[in-house]
Symmetry: C2
Subunit: 105 residues, 2 copies
């Protein structure tokens, strides 16, 4: 195997993991709680939990605990996460230009 840019590969590994795109889309709109994302996205708690942990580990998502009753936990984007906005925006633009209404299922 030859010279694929290893940083690009690593970036794709993160971004193209299933559900990550939709999670970023949500968070680019502002901080969100676990249950809020769970009900906004077609993803189960198990995987949402996995993905948020992974994104936190990668420094893309920040987890903030508010010790209220009941406990409130908010997820938001770090600067590194925020800087993915152009990527998501481009995908949105591409989708608008090239995905027809019919093929959306």
């Amino acid at each position: 195997m030859s010279e694929l840019c290893p940083r690009f590969e690593k970036a794709m590994q993160i971004i193209s993991k299933r559900w990550v795109g939709l999670i970023l889309f949500e968070l680019l709109d502002g901080p969100k709680r676990f249950s809020e994302m769970e009900s906004n996205l077609p993803i189960s708690g198990r995987l949402l939990s996995d993905r948020l942990k992974m994104l936190e580990k990668e420094g893309i998502v920040i987890r903030h605990i508010y010790s209220e009753f009941p406990v409130r936990i908010e997820y938001s984007l770090s600067k590194k996460g925020e800087s993915l906005r152009p990527v998501i925006q481009d995908i949105q633009n591409w989708a608008n230009d090239w995905i027809a209404e019919e093929e959306v299922n």
Copy 2:
């Protein structure tokens, strides 16, 4: 589940499928043959075959058969595929800015 843009969802479904990013990266460099991609990417023939079929079905990749000896088959990007260049370019830029050498493994 609420109002996620269905076109965005569909776009993510295609783009975030494993290996698709790397395949697009390859093809943005110009037309490529099956075996060429197979040796450039860390992907097996089975999945490369699957992904190329899927991308062809989505109108992103074009398959061209040259009846030479031995047979030569070239894969290239359609206009729809070409228009994903900004997405891939943004991911490359993000990777350069935010992925450190050490975390590339």
